[in-house]
Symmetry: C2
Subunit: 455 residues, 2 copies
Amino acid sequence: MSDQVINYLKENREHLLGKLSEFLSIPSISTDSSHNEDVLKAGNFVVDYLKEIGFNKVELQKTPGHPLVYGEWLEAEGAPTVLFYGHYDVQPADPLELWESDPFKAAIRNDKIFARGASDDKGQVFMNLAVFEAYMKTEGRLPINVKVCIEGEEEIGSKHLGEVLQQQKEKFQADFAVISDSGMVEAGQPTILYGLKGFTGLEFTVTGPNRDLHSGIYGGAAKNPAMALCHMIASLKNEEEQVTVPGFYDGVEELQEEERRLMNESPGENYTQTIGIPETTPEKGYTAKEHTMARPTLEINGMYSGYQGEGTKTIIPSTATAKITCRLVPGQDPDVIQQLMVDHLEKVAPKGVKLDIHRYPLSAKAYKMDPSHPLLKKASTSYSEAFGKEAVFVRLGGSIPVVELIDQLFQIPVVLLGFGTPEDNLHSPNESFPLESFDKGMEVLASYYRNAAQV
Amino acid sequence: MSDQVINYLKENREHLLGKLSEFLSIPSISTDSSHNEDVLKAGNFVVDYLKEIGFNKVELQKTPGHPLVYGEWLEAEGAPTVLFYGHYDVQPADPLELWESDPFKAAIRNDKIFARGASDDKGQVFMNLAVFEAYMKTEGRLPINVKVCIEGEEEIGSKHLGEVLQQQKEKFQADFAVISDSGMVEAGQPTILYGLKGFTGLEFTVTGPNRDLHSGIYGGAAKNPAMALCHMIASLKNEEEQVTVPGFYDGVEELQEEERRLMNESPGENYTQTIGIPETTPEKGYTAKEHTMARPTLEINGMYSGYQGEGTKTIIPSTATAKITCRLVPGQDPDVIQQLMVDHLEKVAPKGVKLDIHRYPLSAKAYKMDPSHPLLKKASTSYSEAFGKEAVFVRLGGSIPVVELIDQLFQIPVVLLGFGTPEDNLHSPNESFPLESFDKGMEVLASYYRNAAQV
């Protein structure tokens, strides 16, 4: 390991944190079209940084949606090529009133950086770029050939990424990929993620009367769409957290005792402390660790109908809407699952209302890598060196659709080098990222890019 | 019947419509505290009008909420005293984008007046006052002693009315009461309403995690409050529209065949045309007419949880809320029903979430008057004369809590002289009131106040 590179990162820490703050200050919310200019601005920030580092070919590639940044440095003769993927877009910050500091003005307190995107994913993208900078500034070169792909649509399902990669397959082809968009099981605990869940979803609207009605005059004649929606949703999952959509579990492989043991022995968070729930409620027959890591889920992400203001309004609402997404495991095909949900909803929709289903276009299959792969062993070593602790191997409930995309398209291993923690408040108010992860994570990356060049 | 009075109303029609428009232009939305000044303004409008008519004692009575207008004219020696009740507050106008004209700028088209409150209840209050004006301007006196009580809190459950009436029982005491805050079964069809439903309700919030969570990381560990809420709501009513809260139907008297026949023979609306529903969905074993008129209901008025914006946000929401109201029939006590709902919700609330219930303070018992009462016979005659058509006798699903209040407090009959129609869009966008009801309704009232003086 080159002390030079590590020293550079240490000596330039303040400068790097300042530059990261600048990146975090751009509200690049990809789902909200009123922020299109900000998304573009964040893309250009990445372009400028890559040029500054010394990447040879840096492009802001247009897509029908938000642009994607490509960059390459391919002068490490004889070394393999890594494709580094990340995203510069972020989730919405609402509800704003719950933030303790401006979501788009990075604030450091309690040894953490607070900002939307601090962990997911601007902070972790930035760490990789900073490590590339450190190599170039100290050794004048990178230890491995690097292709960089940083997109602006991850939070809206990477709408155009597949198309872009498909069309320029040769350009983006690499020997393996690295993604830093995940976390560790707890702060300071090196974690090798060898499995991720897949993803699918839809939203549906139940329409009853053509307007909100007086509940006294029409109650008893018109079906209440909110009540219809609740009955339909209640038919998707029972109170034992088992999804009751017919066929949902078809093809899901039963968890082996050995994997159950590994999962249950891995360190976990104290949910009462971290998220304030009185108790966990996993699927019947599974522990919370087993369910979050390796069993599929079906969640209501949002729901609305009728009057939401102060006081009462005695109406039968005209419509009711629910947004639903599923996290899938190996054996489940996202398109099949989506179709099963559509079929089920159409079947259970009651008389007296109209059902409109909008299938979310984004989807992903679950991903699993062999935990004994040399690229993962090297990762484990780099983590252990930096954090002074053995790495644990786990699967996670989150979905990174691009992992499956890269896997399918390029047929290469995808190594997940994540440094987030369960306290990061991803997608929530007060998102944060520990400075320890920032510092040690860059050491891991500096070491890993050099070690992986030997595989 | 005095031609003078009717002639006055005809000759001054344009003037009266202009004055009504002025009344309707005040956005006196009692549930929204940002409209407090407007509610006060509408109260003062009524005060000024009563003084102008020649009422002897006109007061804007303060309450801890919105004020109440009292006025009296008690110079009809030997005649009975009527208490005329109405309300000058209105429902919110949202969703504003669905209105074809400004809800607070009366517009006449297709022989209807369009404005929030045109039917419920400013328009109908105004008609009574206009009739009093016509008597005073032509005959110099009213045919009957009149006490007027126009409140500003009907749409928020008449919060302080009971207190006011209780404290000044002597002052408000009368021989019978008249309320014009209801409608006819169809436009032009005189309708004697001899029964109303009672009312109770509550809202509840299910809280899971202390913030919105990443659905991938926490799905399988944390109970989803929106899903919990749907299961709880689905347990309140089955898909055959039977309320499944234990004890809900206790004490409800079974509908007699004769009353069923009368109800089913009464003219009804074509719901497909009026509210655009494919079919009615009444309680199993009852027709839509029977259910709306004489069977209790339980409706979701509003519901919300999690992300409601554009696109997807893959969260487990922190909370989910539902607003629920019931319409009750004779035999059901609103406080008992509310308690049954609370008990049931507490029982079915699943593990892993916290339940907070807010009991709505407003409530009312159902009301039924003997359809052969002389005051109703006189009403029937007045309607028939003005509309040229026999009156039908029906019960209605709506609740007018003040009816029960007056009944209980003063032990007097409450006569409902309503002129609205099913097309009025009460509580909905594009509320309207037919000019035919405005014109003929005032003839009914002019005739009725004279006829009722003889009872």
